[in-house]
């Protein structure tokens, strides 16, 4: 095990930094049960999330760029009877996702400051529990620990949608829960199968690169794929997403789009590629075409939306299609682009959902027609919105350009045909984003009277400004973000390429 992880734990308050990050929000949630008053709970949640974000920063500064091993590792025996351990560690693939999560959470609290008016304390508790499980998912190196946190996340998210959601919250929340649970129970079966195959060990790094039989790999891959594809969500498993996004409160949408969806693509990178490499090669063409389908479907559907939140939600389907495309072209540019694009989508789409939430707080409508022409009265707001929209359509100089460019380079290296089908996705993104921007800034013929609208408050500017900073930082100087992943991605590709299979079809593969 020593050769897989670095024993370089870094302690904060006497406990390992990763454990501190996981348990701080949870402890905060428990304390909040005893904090009376709405404002006090908002302030407490803000304090806890900011503190978590601050604690997460040393992860970056102390991260060793020269190794693909898991760092900041922690290991505690948990359930010895089944050889289940509490093992944490991060590598270049998870580092950025963790930082993005910790940095987004304070913004989610700020973004809900006025939006949430009922049961504020419970809302903040749900957000904090979410943070715990999301961070844990990206850090877990024990498969059971991973699964526990992966599933535990469903409860607070369900409550976020079901309690604070829009008019069709019941339908949306149950659909979300059922879909994701149905996928992940199969993941559980695959986990147990791997455990039995690996001499009763749940240690994830050890599962990678083992000589599993082809047939075993294919079935495990399918179980993984079902769980992760639903989470991403890939076309045609995406139908829960627009409903959940539209009904969720702003912070819920931000968490959902920015972090939860990434858990699916993270699953592909962390498990499918290194554990079932042969199956990955065999299923690759199908996944690539599904990604293309997602890109085009998401783009066209977004173009047809009149509800801004739905528009952003469907654009997510398209953007996540790009991410899975990047992952499954199985080359360095593609995967690095995909990881960066995961962060970019988190930043940009999170920001767009916050923007839509801000309009909704003012006009009590998410219809594009009701928000036309507000640029005249909200100049600061539309400035932010414009930049985020440009980022979403991958305008050069913004973050998404770097990610999408890398993915397309990777796709061209793989196959010109695939890349040619992906390009229209980028054009579609420009179409739907500019259409929204044009209507909001200048409006149409039937402008409602918007003169009563106030521009952004200092709190709202504070919410959006950090995201804008990242849009340009990643867009103009991506090196600090790319550097952390090079070694890990190379290592990942080595693991995958070492198992390139002979000519084998899916049908042959699935029959033992």
């Amino acid at each position: 095990m020593e050769f897989l992880i670095l024993n370089d734990s870094y302690h904060i308050f006497g406990i390992g930094i990763l454990s501190a990050l996981i348990f701080l929000p949870l402890a905060g949630a428990l304390i909040m049960f005893f904090i009376p008053g709405e404002n006090a709970s908002k302030l407490a949640a803000l304090f806890i999330t900011v503190l978590t974000a601050a604690i997460s920063l040393p992860l970056y500064s102390r991260f060793d760029l020269g190794t693909a091993k898991f760092q900041f590792a922690e290991h505690v025996t948990w359930i010895p009877a089944l050889n289940i351990n509490y093992t944490l560690g991060i590598d270049g693939i998870s580092l950025l996702l963790i930082l993005m999560t910790t940095l987004l959470m304070p913004l989610c609290v700020l973004g809900s400051w006025k939006y949430i008016t009922k049961r504020v304390k419970e809302f903040m508790i749900c957000l904090l529990i979410m943070e715990t499980s999301m961070l844990g998912v990206f850090m877990a190196l024990d498969f059971v620990l991973f699964y526990v946190l992966w599933e535990a996340m469903l409860i607070p998210m369900y409550l976020l949608i079901a309690i604070w959601g829009g008019p069709r919250k019941t339908y949306a929340s149950i659909k979300f829960f059922l879909y994701t649970l149905a996928g992940s129970v199969m993941l559980l079966v695959a986990i147990i199968a791997l455990y039995l195959h690996n001499n009763y060990s749940f240690f994830i790094p050890e599962m990678m690169g083992q000589p599993y039989s082809s047939c075993f790999q294919f079935w495990v891959f399918l179980a993984f794929f079902l769980a992760f594809a639903i989470k991403v969500p890939m076309f045609p498993f995406h139908t829960w997403l627009p409903a959940a996004h539209v009904e969720a409160p702003t912070a819920g949408s931000v968490v959902l789009a920015s972090v939860l969806l990434k858990m699916g693509t993270y699953g592909f990178l962390r498990f499918c590629l290194p554990i079932t490499p042969e199956a990955t090669f065999v299923f690759m063409p199908y996944v690539l075409w599904l990604s293309i389908a997602g890109i085009l479907y998401g783009g066209f559907t977004a173009l047809a939306q009149s509800d801004m939140k739905k528009l952003v939600a469907y654009s997510s389907v398209g953007h996540m299609g790009f991410v899975t495309l990047g992952i499954f072209v199985l080359n360095k540019q593609g995967i690095e682009g995909a990881i960066l694009q995961m962060i970019n989508h988190g930043v940009t789409t999170g920001a767009l959902f916050l923007c839509v939430g801000m309009i909704y707080e003012r006009t009590h409508s998410r219809e594009l027609a009701m928000a036309t022409g507000i640029g005249k009265y909200m100049p600061v707001f539309v400035t932010f919105l414009a930049f985020f929209s440009l980022s979403s359509l991958a305008f050069p100089g913004t973050n998404s350009f770097v990610g999408e460019f890398l993915i397309l380079v990777g796709a061209f290296t793989k196959s010109k045909l695939i890349a040619a089908f992906a390009i229209p996705g980028a054009v579609l993104a420009a179409a739907y984003m500019l259409r929204m921007l044009q209507k909001i800034v200048w409006g149409g013929a039937s402008n409602p009277d918007q003169s009563h609208l106030s521009d952004l408050s200092a709190r709202e500017i504070l919410t959006l400004a950090p995201l804008l900073l990242f849009v340009f930082w990643i867009g103009l100087a991506p090196a600090p973000f790319m550097d952390v992943m090079h070694v890990s991605v190379s290592h990942l590709l080595d693991q995958v390429n070492s198992a390139a299979p002979g000519p084998i079809t899916v049908v042959q593969a699935l029959i033992p």
Partner: protein, 478 residues
Amino acid sequence: MNLALFAPELFLLFGSLVLFLISLGKSNAKSARNATIFIALINVVICLSTMGQNGTLFYEAYQVDLFSQFFKVVISAGFAFVVLFGCDLKGINKDIRAEYYLFMMLSTLGLVMLVSCVELLAMFIALELSSFSLYLLVPMRDDRAGLKIQMESAIKYILFGVVATGIMLFGMSYLFGLTGSTYFVEMIPKLHQMYTMPVAIVAIAMFMGGFFFKLAVFPFHFWVPDVYQGASNETTAFIASIPKIAAVAMLIRVITLVSPSSDIIVTMLMILSVGSMFYGNLIALVQKDIKRLLGFSGIAHAGFVLIGLLTLKDSGYATAIYYIIGYLVMNMACFLVICKVSREGENVTIDDLSGLHQRAPLLALTLGVGMFALAGIPPFVGFMGKFMLLAGALKQGHLILVILAALNTAIAIYYYLSVVRVSYTTDPEDRPAVPVDGVTWAVSITLMIIIIAMGVLPSKIVDMATAAVNVITVMPGN
């Protein structure tokens, strides 16, 4: 004879006598309640203190070992929970409350004795002591609406119960015929040699029938929905949890008769398991009455428990024990809420839970934790139990069974979620607040802590269950 070995049973018998005396007096409801709570709590302590004892009683028909004492603790704790949160006894007429407690205690006594029995007739007597007391508890419900459903359910319960007992007696007689003995110790080596004989399989299958009935395994489940609905909430809480603990204990004992291997018994258990899971979950989807819903969910959970048994391995039995204890706690959490929400002992429908989060935030949280735990969502005990059961079954190569069980988890989530949804997302309209007294508060918090603690740190219980199971699988002859 060392009477200390028999201390929990003697104490419960003494408690029953006390209650009997109280029942002779007039306006005895309050003193009966206090006495029962006191006896139930002390009984838990006594059971705990006898954990380490070993020995046999009554011409070796009665075995006191870690296995039996472990189950006695769990059964006593379950009994204590029921009398603690059900102490209002809203559904029972004031005049017969002492008798009500008396029969509940006798039923507990029967179950406590049952887990120690290693001889067929002793087992039969203990089981019937418990069952007959339960048959009496059901019609004791004070039905203000005058629907008399409690009578109908009581009759159903007795009739089905008697048939199940009959089948079990048949099985016992075959076993006796085959082995010439009613003692497990003597039967085990003989049965291990003839477990492929059709008559032995029929005998064991029929013998198990009695316990399948208690555990509410499909197709022995017919009594469940009506009895759950017809009995008062407190009675249902008891019937739905505590006899099931003893049933699992006894099924493990019976299975040692056929282990280490019997393909036919495994196949039979597999069919029952899959049938229970699908039947329970699919019918539960359309239930409106929460007790009925929990009844069908209980049938599905019984199917899950069987997965642990059909591995025919110590680890599988230990997991089944862990699971059924977890089920007891989760069920208790749900029934606590039902008992409290029900104003005058009437049944609670899902709609009655509307806006519970405003009417009683603690109860809503307890219900949420209980339901998510039953659904098998981490970090609660239900998840860890399912996980270990599935891992054990997959280890034995039952892949299809595991996939079907996983599928069932996904089906079940719908109805559990709908209960949580109603209590958390709807408005109370004009439904009144639910008062939560100190005892309820303490019991709720305790149950939630147990549900989470058992889910996060299962090792302790599993180790204890494994140690307990080891005792009986290394019994002479095994």
